[in-house]
Symmetry: C2
């Protein structure tokens, strides 16, 4: 059974801008800029940004922190009725975490054709063989969400180039 | 390219028994008994057991704790050359975490036909479209790993039954 969105377009964009603010926090500390928020009844109850390099921790993705904070906020592992917003299409780990937490609606910004598990490489969140599935919508503020990533990787390449020519 | 195991059968069973010890720690606090260990160069560098109910945290799976502890132990998010042992076939979240951490070899005990993402419902760990894949082997001490789960759920059903008849 296909699920339906319970939000208006302007609500979706409002919360995605909040996820983008989280992505900017990652960028400010030289992490790949990806951010996420979890929303319940119109309130943000979890926030997170990518911290993989800083924590040297493979599981330190934006969505994981947002889910963990949300579970703590409501003192329950069940995030039924919650919406999750993330600036980049979630990977298999994060999509799996959303399934386990029973997140009702998932919205992402940019598509990840090389690793996305919410429609690109596979679609875990709408796989009805599992005991929970979600409403999924990609492309919310897609250009803005993609641009922060493009800018980050362009700057990273320039730094590497400068370092290389400095070493010659 | 199919990967190969670097361990003998007795090594596999030795480390699975260590994962079973973790499962027993979960059982002792009324959590679904699932345990995991991460091994590097013959040493256990990460241990974990299921803590979902105690922590009220959807992501609190045995494998996540074992991976996080292993990353902390070697101060790196890259668990290349590492082996992970878990008593039950991993779910999509945990399989995804193993991919992100670049775990080289994954061994599990019992199969999970309803939610397993290492061969049963899907096979994330050997999907060559992702930038990392692993050697995967299921059925290590399968009977013992399955039995702790069966015993746990049987006891749980009996408790519920007693509670119900007590309420009549």
């Amino acid at each position: 059974m296909k699920k339906e969105s319970t939000l208006t377009q302007s609500e979706k964009e409002y919360f995605m801008r909040e996820a983008l603010k989280e992505a900017q926090k990652a960028e400010a500390i030289a992490e790949v800029p990806i951010g996420a928020v979890v929303v319940l009844e119109g309130q943000i109850i979890g926030r997170g940004h990518n911290l993989r390099e800083k924590q040297q921790e493979a599981t330190a993705h934006a969505e994981m922190f947002a889910i963990q904070q949300a579970c703590q906020a409501i003192e329950s592992w069940r995030l039924e009725q919650a919406q999750l917003f993330v600036t980049l299409e979630p990977c298999p780990m994060c999509s799996g975490a959303m399934m386990l937490a029973r997140v009702e609606e998932v919205y992402f910004g940019a598509y990840d054709p090389k690793g996305g598990a919410a429609g690109s490489l596979l679609n875990l969140l709408e796989d009805e063989r599992f005991n929970h599935w979600s409403y999924v919508e990609g492309g919310i503020l897609e250009e803005a969400c993609g641009q922060v990533l493009k800018d980050f990787f362009r700057a990273l390449r320039q730094k590497k180039k400068q370092k290389k020519s400095g070493n010659l």
